[in-house]
Symmetry: C2
Subunit: 129 residues, 2 copies
């Protein structure tokens, strides 16, 4: 099938699929006219990538996971380790963002937000520490 159909079926934009071929995550065949020809297996792989990316795995994580997926004899521990590392990254990001949110919320609560110039948000950012 052509890239448009593969895009529809996998839920990934055609541009992204071409990019994934560029970085050698997939290698669809080519028709005589130069068009990419995606097999069901290719589309399945794209779906895998789409789901892994949705879970926030990096491209290099995805490359590793694809390798493990295709290695019928890999240990589930290998997969779990990648997932655990990724989970740690996610949790750390969440913690950072929550910290930001709390600080910002606090600042917002102390700022009256009217047309007067006095503003605790700016004051806090400007304060030498």
């Amino acid at each position: 099938m052509n890239i448009g159909e593969a895009a529809t079926q996998s839920g990934l934009p055609a541009k992204t699929i071409r990019y994934y071929e560029d970085i050698k995550l997939i290698a669809p065949l080519r028709d005589a006219n130069g068009y990419r020809d995606f097999s069901d297996a290719d589309v399945h792989k794209l779906g895998f990538l789409s789901r892994a990316r949705t879970l926030g795995f990096t491209i290099e994580n995805c490359r590793a996971l694809l390798g493990l997926w295709e290695d019928q004899s890999r240990a589930s521990a290998d997969v779990k380790r990648i997932a655990a590392e990724h989970l740690a990254v996610i949790e750390s990001k969440i913690a950072d963002l929550c910290q930001m949110r709390d600080t910002l919320e606090h600042l917002m609560n102390t700022c009256h937000g009217d047309d007067r110039p006095d503003c605790p948000i700016i004051n806090e950012l400007a304060s030498r520490r």
Copy 2:
């Protein structure tokens, strides 16, 4: 003062400070030898930028906030609006990450993570939907 001292005082790497000059967030004077010469006001501004960036404001947010900081007559509502928009972005990111975390945690709990090949994490990623 030289860039090294400005870096120490502001907590920003010298590279980042040069970058901020590049994109016209700051405009330190120059000594006869070509070295940047940072005033206390410059360093203060760098501290402001550092704190705003720590709170996750984008560079363009920072540019706007700097403008508001230097405008003694701006309304606090202007600042609060930027902060509120930013807060919404942060909260949306947190929600996305929490979603990822929950899904990943669930998958990790169902994966025994030993040396057998069967792995629910991979299976889930591979499942056609």
